[in-house]
Amino acid sequence: MLCRQLLTRALAQPLFRSYTQAHIIVPQPQFDKPLALPIEKRPNVMKVVEREAISRANVDGRSDLFIRRAAPKDRLCAGDVVTVETRNSMAEGAATSSFTGVCIAIYRRGIDTSFILRNLVQRVGVEIRFLAYSPLVKRIEIVHKGVGYRRAKLFYLRENPGKAFQLKLLKKTGK
């Protein structure tokens, strides 16, 4: 039985490789079985879809930054200073651009998880919302952990920035 399985798998491999039609992309890695938990009698389709999509997009362990119950030092928190490097396009060797700002909000929505960075660029407030699992986002790096923030959403920084955007880190790279 095992031999048969191995044989069929071996036979199947080159078939898949030869299955390269111009109109189709085969996402990598392919999961032979849906990523369902052993507890689930019938796999919850939407949860399986989300799990698989995140495990594919989680190339550099970035999903650890968005675990809700992790210790604050291990995850991204509102108030942290974050640098995000994005590709300008999906073409190979495309230029990248980076943005540094204070994270003022995190939206945990599975594969559509996003966060908002805010900074002052030439005294003008600039906010950018990044989708965490977008293939265009090359790197997410926490440059400085925020201190003294007690809220999940820091929208009050728009009206009362205080000294939030006075950090040297923000001034240097916030261009």
Binding site: Q30, S89, M90, S134
Partner: protein, 314 residues
């Protein structure tokens, strides 16, 4: 008292006469009809599932549609890095229940069933119908017209591989019920003014007609129940096909709530559009395991065209 055999013989004789008179249907059921002894056996479509063979798709062919279940919405990224909102539709035990001939010999409808219905919840007439065709009771049944070359034997299972990534589909389902709504929401009327002496007439329909003819015309747009009616969304691209979960990802929203039964069929109104992407191998009349080429578990459609994130040189 008529015996059962006598009745059956009379019925077969009658049908033979009718067949001679009317043009012969292109959907052959002859093999079983001759053997049939009970009246209900005549309903069976002759070829067995094992006799199903791949055919050649032509522009005139119309494949069967399927009943799928809406599972929910999510997002994915195409090859250019652009996010695409998608709806996940699952094909739960989709099977051909019966074939229904029409007066037109070159047109018939395939009755497609989806899901599982408990036997105790199936009415006896329906139970008899399912038993006659040797199919387990289905949660939902619907008919789709097909051309003779796309006919499928009763019992054929239709899987997600029936669809090709990049092809276009039409999707039909009852929309979300909105309840009793006024004319502004239901029909898009402008309503009244917000100020300038307006009194209690901000959202009213206003006049419903002239003094002549002194009545309201039938079909006048008025307040009433909104939603909960069949809505068809046309030309939705299939973004992804998952053969293990038996799901298709369709671009954009689809009418109805989650777990809603959705009718999905090949797109029909194709002005300046291709039904299938160029160079695609069409599973015709459907994907047949063993005969059709083996597929990877998941395949994603290539959007193609120009990179939208790179400004064009001209």
């Amino acid at each position: 008292m008529f015996t059962r055999a006598f009745l059956a013989s009379r019925l077969t004789a009658k049908s033979a006469v009718v067949q001679n008179a009317a043009p012969r249907s292109l959907f052959s059921t002859s093999a079983v009809t001759q053997k049939a002894k009970l009246p209900h056996e005549k309903l069976r479509y002759a070829p067995e599932v094992s006799e199903l063979k791949l055919g050649d798709y032509t522009a005139q062919s119309q494949r069967t549609g399927v009943i799928a279940r809406k599972k929910g919405m999510t997002g994915m990224w195409d090859e250019w890095g652009v996010r695409v909102p998608v709806t996940v539709l699952q094909l739960e035990k989709v099977q051909v229940v019966s074939i229904i001939k029409t007066s037109n010999p070159s047109c018939a409808r395939l009755q497609i069933g989806c899901g599982v219905r408990k036997e105790k919840n199936t009415s006896k007439p329906l139970k008899g119908h399912y038993d006659a065709h040797g199919v387990e009771p289905k949660a939902k049944v619907f008919e789709f017209p097909v051309t003779p070359d796309a006919a499928l034997p009763v019992g054929t299972e239709i899987t997600a591989a029936h669809f090709v990534p990049g092809q276009l589909v039409d999707v039909t389902a009852p929309s979300l019920g909105k309840g009793f709504q006024g004319v502004m929401k239901r029909w898009g009327f402008s309503g009244g003014r917000a100020s300038h002496g307006n009194s209690l007439a901000h959202r009213t329909p206003g006049s419903t007609g002239n003094i002549n003819p002194g009545r309201v015309y039938p079909g006048k747009k008025m307040p009433g129940r909104m939603g909960g009616k069949n809505v068809t969304v046309i030309r939705l691209p299939v973004m992804k096909v998952d053969t293990a979960l038996n799901c298709i990802w369709v671009k954009g929203p689809v009418p109805g709530h989650d777990e809603q039964f959705i009718k999905v069929r090949d797109s029909t109104k194709l002005i300046k559009h291709r039904l299938f992407p160029e160079g695609a191998a069409v599973p015709f009349p459907t994907y047949i395991p063993g005969q059709s080429p083996a597929l990877p578990r998941e395949t994603i459609a290539k959007v193609g065209g120009q990179d939208p994130l790179v400004p064009s040189s001209d």
